[in-house]
């Protein structure tokens, strides 16, 4: 059953370019990928949590994210000195009541972080998750 659920969640991001980012760079040198399924993160139940920290490939990954941005339902971005530095995209639902988010942060040079979250949490809850004191 768990395998079936995992398969369904993996397929849920198949229509997103961010899925390709994880596939292409998840095991590349200088990248760290974390993948969790059906986990609890800071008190929020998440169906899928995938994160990728990269030291290079920033430009290539940005191109994939741009494609997802076009198809996003909600786009929230931080702009510093005219450059988008971080934000999140809320993608269209593929399952009733399950939201899909792509979070990103661009670091110095070609470095950065991409996170894909799938779960029932609302945008407000996502913001709480991001701003909770570490």
């Amino acid at each position: 059953m768990a395998m079936l659920l995992s398969a369904s969640t993996v397929l849920a991001q198949a229509d997103l370019q961010v899925g390709r980012v994880f596939d292409l760079y998840g095991h590349s040198k200088g990248c760290k990928m974390v993948e969790l399924h059906h986990s609890s993160f800071r008190g929020y139940e998440l169906d899928v949590y995938k994160s990728l920290i990269y030291r290079q490939y920033g430009n290539a990954i940005e191109n994939y994210l741009k494609t997802d941005r076009k198809n996003a339902r909600k786009v929230r971005e931080i702009v510093e000195d005219g450059v988008i530095t971080s934000g999140y995209y809320m993608m269209k639902q593929t399952r009733q009541g399950i939201n899909r988010y792509i979070l990103f942060r661009n670091g110095s040079g070609q470095s950065g972080t991409v996170v894909y979250i799938e779960g029932a949490l609302s945008p407000d809850e996502l913001m709480k998750l991001c701003t909770v004191n570490k």
Binding site: R73, E77, V79, E80, S86, S108, T131
Partner: protein
């Protein structure tokens, strides 16, 4: 943000009444909200006036297909980029240490003994400047303006004096001299290369300092009375030192060494200054 969205909700029906495109400007204290409705897309801009200039803090595009909100500050992701660190020079507010006269710079032992004994210095930092050299702001060039007071004590019955020919030397007095010293003030400008945060709050710096000296006196005390022997000791009023700090948080240890002699060597003994001490940043 909710306030603006409520404001937006109130404004949109009004804009639907009018012919498109419609610009609505709402001004409240130092904020200006501009709402534009064009071809099914509502655009909202929030501008804030900080007293000097008007800056856009928010821009939103709302349509049936997509909501795009861009914040020109960070309301939901803490800004903890290392690149935004502030590089601050680690000069001490107060410093206190030993200041010895030595026969040459970096002398391992004081071969002027027994004429010159341990001496002291103290000082304060008036202002500092810093310029980071790397993006992480871990290294930088720093400078400061400092004032220090130095007392170099002479042992035995020795008094630093200057004769009628302008020659400065240590004379041995026949009286019982309780203490004898050379004192002066210095305005110091160190220029250092500093590294920070290598291990926690550890910092290190090395560089040069220029000293402008004045207010020199050779004084001694005998029979409980203080006397000024001379105010002309052929002091070099400009000096150059090499110096270094190492510290953690607000505490540091410093040392410096004179590269140029303290006194004019044509008319006075060749003395170099060397100091080591502790310092605190308040």
């Amino acid at each position: 943000m909710k306030k603006y969205l409520l404001l937006l909700a109130a404004v949109i029906p009004a804009t639907l009444w009018a012919a498109e495109p419609v610009d609505t400007i709402i001004t409240k204290t130092n904020k200006k909200v501009i709402v534009t409705d064009t071809a099914g897309t509502t655009k909202v801009k929030v501008l804030e006036n900080d007293g000097k200039e008007e800056k856009m803090t928010f821009e939103g595009h709302y349509s049936d297909q997509q909501d795009v909100e861009q914040y020109f500050f960070s309301p939901f992701i803490p800004n903890k980029k290392k690149g935004n660190r502030y590089f601050e020079a680690s000069y001490p507010s107060v410093f206190l240490g030993f200041n010895n006269l030595e026969s040459h710079c970096l002398s391992s032992m004081n071969d002027l003994a027994p004429n010159v004994s341990s001496s002291s210095e103290w000082g304060i930092t008036i202002t500092t400047f810093s310029f980071p050299l790397d993006k992480m702001k871990d290294f930088g060039i720093t400078a400061a303006a400092q004032i220090k007071n130095v007392h170099n004590y002479f042992s035995g019955n020795h008094i630093l004096t200057t004769d009628d020919n302008g020659q400065t030397y240590l004379k041995e007095d026949t009286r019982d001299i309780q203490k004898s010293y050379l004192s002066y003030w210095a305005f110091k400008v160190p220029v250092m290369l500093e590294g920070q945060r290598m291990i926690g709050k550890l910092f290190m710096s090395i560089g040069f300092s220029l000293e402008l000296r004045s207010g020199e006196h050779s004084r001694y005390k005998t029979d409980g009375h203080k006397h000024t022997e001379t105010t002309d000791v052929n002091l070099n009023h400009v000096g150059l030192n090499v110096e270094s700090y190492i510290g953690y948080d607000g505490f540091m240890i410093y040392c410096n060494c004179g590269l140029t002699p303290l006194l004019n060597t044509h008319n006075a003994p060749k003395y170099y200054t060397g100091s080591i001490g502790v310092a605190f940043k308040l």
